[in-house]
Symmetry: C2
Subunit: 421 residues, 2 copies
């Protein structure tokens, strides 16, 4: 008998009809002899509607009250799913995140799970019940206030519960068939991946793939909890995110997919003194504003002036804040100009295969060049190459790379040979 | 400095705009130097909408899950009101019924408050905060499950909190100006009452007046907590429900109002043996089905047959159940027929004045007779006369009584003299 944790997203439970279908699927899983724990997001657009209501009564709502408000959404959907399961003759019990033992930091709206102590869940399972747990929420360790986990928090709740209960698998049900080699809306012949290692999924998520949130994948990797991303509208297998890329035999390592991201902006600090400490001041100023920096480029300084430029990317909604913070420090840091660009796009190729196959970078750049796309900045890791280009060229860039590395359709991804990266 | 508990009903907080207005009123009360605790119902029709959703996924939803579901409504409205208060520069904190120390029985959907231990509320008040408490809910003493209190539960929550905190007054804000001498929609010259004693309000509520639920008034009387029923749309004083009728000087005791009730049905057990124990069997059968009986009439038995008829009233929605239970016992109890009538109306005259003024009953019956209304059953208490009539004649009955006792407009209620009740 296996222990299965399932998570259903908002669109899967958006109506009474869909709730009943989800209940049927859950009861079917139970009938196969499994222990079943289910994490449910709020119905449909409930979270956004509650956010909107909050905005109408207070443009800057107090975070504690915001979490009291938003957690109602999951409470509603979980109770309804438990009722639907009950109408099918099975026993179900719903718990809030707090009741299920999800302990978090106290950052309202972006709390992180510190620990999961699922005693009541385990007891209910031992009584033969199907257990519902409200996703996206927990209780703060110090204040005992209810907290929410930030976007994608229900996925993280599900994986964290699966890890704490030592579940055999965590099934994430969503409205796509699995993880694809690229966004199928941009690349028509994008292919569903059968499996993806934890590290590759981390890179895909970090580079813009929205099917699983980064925090959720980090948690899965840390506790080695397999995550099966599937469609809630069919019974087809989806994508299994499991295993470390270290365990993939060299000859089997391939390129996995292309991710894209439109959510960033670029800041260039022009004419910075190329002396020790000045770049640090720039990054410290940005970090103090709690802005995460993604890609960084520092050019070699100009010989005649002894000055250099630093370029970095950050989340677009924090762009104006970053500009504001750096502008205030202009005299102190001493730079000639500050350039802001929020029309950038980031495209990334991810794959364990590039570790062992030379020439990937060359092919990467050639394919973009052939498509008439200018590369503005490059950043790489062991298994990823990311570049910035114009946001208007982003879709073309995705398609060019996907085709250049044959990631689509029925063909295996072919990794081109070459003379080294 | 006074401690004021305010309760706002669903229509008062149905939209973001109304929530902001309620917040303004609350902050104004605080600025006058009071400690303020506010109980808020769910927004608008939320509770009914959640009930409907539940019905769609399960026609007989498990009670525990129903309470997990319904309590979300109050959670949402309280968090939003707290946010609105915060936007006006005052400090607010919201608590669920459980967090506020509302301890109840474990009857999901109709739990009764056993105790209120408002420690966290008191602490928040001492910190200068306005406190919001979700109405209509508590936590079961034995199971620790969340419970709801049944219709009108938010009023009961407010009064119970006011009693536990020894508040100076409990203000119930609703969409009528106060308690009226009769339903203004039926009687155009119905008058708003300035004050009503606890006992009279109990009778009015028990006889169909919907402005305050019976349980709430019982609680207020038990703890001697004054209840001020006011409109949330104006600042006019409403009706103060306070004091015992025992404290009203005889010469000031008057008739207070006319209540009506369309929610009952009538069952007549025909041809019951007029021997000890048979009537008891009838009532036991009904009680075992958890049906509350209201009015009872047992006629003198017929001399020739030694049989009698028993008539009683019960909530209409339980009518068919009552008929079913008694039909099953026909042979055991031995009666000739069972009559069911769900077209009855009940009209009641309430007032401390009838204790000391003879002739009220006579005037009562004469006025109905003059209006062509047939009285089918009479039931009285020290301060109330109730009769059954056809439901089609109920509005006329209300008007006839209201006029006969001059309860309307600017005139004081005149109690007719006579030769005794």
């Amino acid at each position: 008998m296996a222990l299965v944790v399932q998570k259903y997203g908002g669109s899967s439970v958006a109506t009474a009809e869909r709730i009943r279908r989800v209940a049927e699927r859950i009861v079917e899983t139970k009938k196969q002899g499994n222990d079943v724990v289910v994490v449910v997001s709020a119905m449909g657009d409930t979270t956004d509607e509650l956010l909107d209501l909050a905005q109408q009564v207070n443009p800057t709502p107090p975070p504690r009250e915001m979490d009291m408000l938003l957690t109602s959404g999951e409470r509603i959907s979980n109770a309804l799913v438990a009722m639907a399961i009950s109408s099918l003759g099975a026993q179900a019990q719903s718990f809030t995140g707090s009741q299920a033992g999800v302990i978090t930091t106290s950052s309202h709206g972006s709390a992180k799970i510190i620990d999961v102590t699922p005693g009541r869940v385990r007891s209910a399972l031992d009584e033969g019940k199907i257990v519902l747990v409200a996703g996206f929420q927990g209780v703060a360790q110090d204040t005992k206030d209810i907290t929410t986990l930030g976007r994608g928090g229900s996925d993280t709740t599900a994986v964290a519960l699966a890890a704490a209960l030592k579940a055999d698998v965590c099934e994430i049900y969503t409205d796509v068939d699995g993880v694809y080699s690229a966004d199928p809306r941009i690349v028509p012949d994008a292919k569903r991946l059968e499996t993806v290692s934890f590290e590759e999924m981390l890179e895909l998520a970090a580079c813009g793939a929205k099917v699983l949130m980064l925090r959720c994948v980090e948690y899965a990797r840390r506790y080695n909890t397999p995550v099966h991303v599937r469609s809630s509208y069919s019974t087809k297998p989806g994508t299994l995110v499991a295993g470390s890329m270290e365990d993939i035999p060299v000859e089997e390592a391939i390129l996995t997919g292309v991710a894209h991201d439109r959510s960033e902006a670029k800041i260039t600090v022009v004419g910075l003194d190329d002396k020790p400490g000045y770049a640090a001041k720039v990054f410290r100023a940005v970090a103090d504003a709690e802005i995460n920096i993604d890609m960084v480029l520092q050019n070699v300084s100009k010989v005649d002036t002894g000055k250099t430029d630093i370029t970095f990317t950050l989340p677009r909604e924090l762009g104006p804040l970053g500009v504001e913070k750096l502008t205030k420090l202009k005299d102190e840091i001493g730079f000639t100009d500050l350039l802001y660009d929020d029309h950038i796009g980031k495209v990334s190729l991810v794959g364990a295969g590039m570790k062992s196959h030379p020439g990937v970078t060359a092919t990467f750049c050639e394919s973009l060049s052939n498509a008439g796309i200018n590369i503005e900045l490059i950043s790489t890791s062991e298994i990823r190459i990311s570049v910035l280009c114009r946001d208007t060229e982003l879709d073309d860039a995705v398609r060019a790379l996907h085709a250049a590395f044959d990631l689509g359709g029925d063909e295996e991804a072919v990794v081109y040979g070459g003379t080294g990266r």
